[in-house]
Amino acid sequence: MSALLQIEDLRVTFNTRYGPVTALDSVSLSVNAGETLGVVGESGCGKSITALSVMGLIPSPPGKIAGGAIRLAGEDLTQASEARMRALRGAEMAMIFQEPMTSLNPVFTVGDQIAEAIMLHQKVSADQAFRDAVALLDRVGIPSPDRRARDYPHQLSGGMRQRVMIAMAVSCRPRVLIADEPTTALDVTVQAQIFDLLNEIQRDFGAAIILITHDMGAISEMADRVAVMYAGRVIEQGRADDVLDLPQHPYTRGLISCIPALGKGEDTLREIPGVVPPLHMLGAGCAFADRCAHRAPRCDSEKPLLQAHGHHPVACHAVAEGRI
């Protein structure tokens, strides 16, 4: 049985002033109904681009899907017409963005913005849509929802706005919900509330969730499976428990050892030394080589491919050769 959403060998390129760069390369991911797929990786590794590809919202130009397929219940979205994509967006698949402060239109009330999403896909009156919007605001835990529905975004806090975004995203009960770092811009206490809300909504609606984050703690609480991305590729993928407990790729190991142990405070937070190379500087070898303690000559000349090893697939020569 194939998954509800299946990304196969996705390749996305951007035209930049350095010439065309490959932002995503051979990305394959899948997620089933009722399941949460975590996608982790450092800033710039292609998480948002992956999500936007699914939604058909890659800014084009300069970006384009240069290869691969994205199948939603078998239908290849990369081949779908713009009209078909409009019908799917917001209805079958919805997205919560990374930037709650700027993702709502400042000149319309939040109630109207949710009601619009409802009316785009359901044949209901404007009044009914607004009442539904109020009910959704109530559902996502906004106090005095009928008054709040008449507020403009600037009258709400960041956490409130993200709740509004969630209400809007689930308004048509999408089958796939993509949450792109839904909490990065928010307070720690609010973060936990938002994750709880996403969990509840998944239970209620049975949606498949793709949770993008660089918070390994959130992954361990939320995700059934996890994909680790680095410089536009998936470098390790598996059940969340397996990947978290037995990370194989040197980058994943680094990520996990960076999680601050509970109760020890901020100063124990470590970082993997070095930075992700910019896309136009990617060479023929492993993109992580400059930061890797297990680097061997082969790593500079040959890209490691995702291969089953141990519990789950990983893309690293050292792992494949049994060196680590």
Partner: protein, 325 residues
Amino acid sequence: MTPSYLLRRLFYGLLLMLGVVVLNFLLIRLAPGDPAVVIAGEMGGADEALLAAIRADYGLDKPVLTQLGIYIGNVLQGDLGQSFFFNQPVATLIGDRIGPTILLVLCAQVISILLGVFLGVIAARKPNGVLSGFVSVFATIGYAVPVFWTGIMLIILFASVFPIFPVEGMQSVRLRDAGFMIRALDVAHHLVLPAFTLALIYLAQYARLSRASMLEVLGSDYIRTARAKGASERSVLFKHALRNASLPILTVAGLQFGNLISGALLVETVFNWPGMGRLAFDSILRRDYPTIMGVLFFASAMVVVANLLTDLSYRLADPRLRGKS
């Protein structure tokens, strides 16, 4: 938008008008030339006795500050003085001509905003497309070409090549006694060329401004949200983006209003439109000081009112400004 805010804006508007009156008066009085000589000239000759009589008659023999006080007092009572040339109250002269000027200015403003914004929005859809390039070129030309030149070119074009629009005046003599609808259509027909001439410069500017403003707004996160909902391209452009992009356009529209009025004075002269422009032009040539001051007064009042309206509409368009002062 509280009543107290409105009152305060109104109060500042009045204060500004008072400043305008004082400044007008002083500027005119400081300009070289003796009004009494001008008036005497109109009467056909001047000896010292006549000049003295005229000075006494018009209060010109009093100290300038006293004259200013008297003038302000009169203006407050709605008396703008007596025209040296027409020998009629300035208020009456202006009252007869302000209607056509307001009509011309408002039409030009509406045409330039509607058409300019429409062109700008379409150009922003494809920033590298042909239309976008056309808008940029057109905007540069429209901005650079003087309004009287455009007017004269249009007159040449429509007077001899395509005689479909009248190039002179506001009404046809033969229709003067026709019914209201016919006369209104006749005025509209006469309005086409002057209004377009005046609209042209600003139209180009609005097109360029809204193109830039739309491009900026179209890159924002909430536009992506609108697309993620499944909104159509038309709704994204005209509902989600334009409402936000219109804020800088409104600001400029308010600021441009003053220029539009001075442009109208030129266009009126070119097209022989019976508004304040020709009155201003004629009174400057004739040094008809009370009339010049009256025209300046009304033109400033129109700008003050326009700015007030802009400010209010800005607050209506942008919910973030409501309730603030």
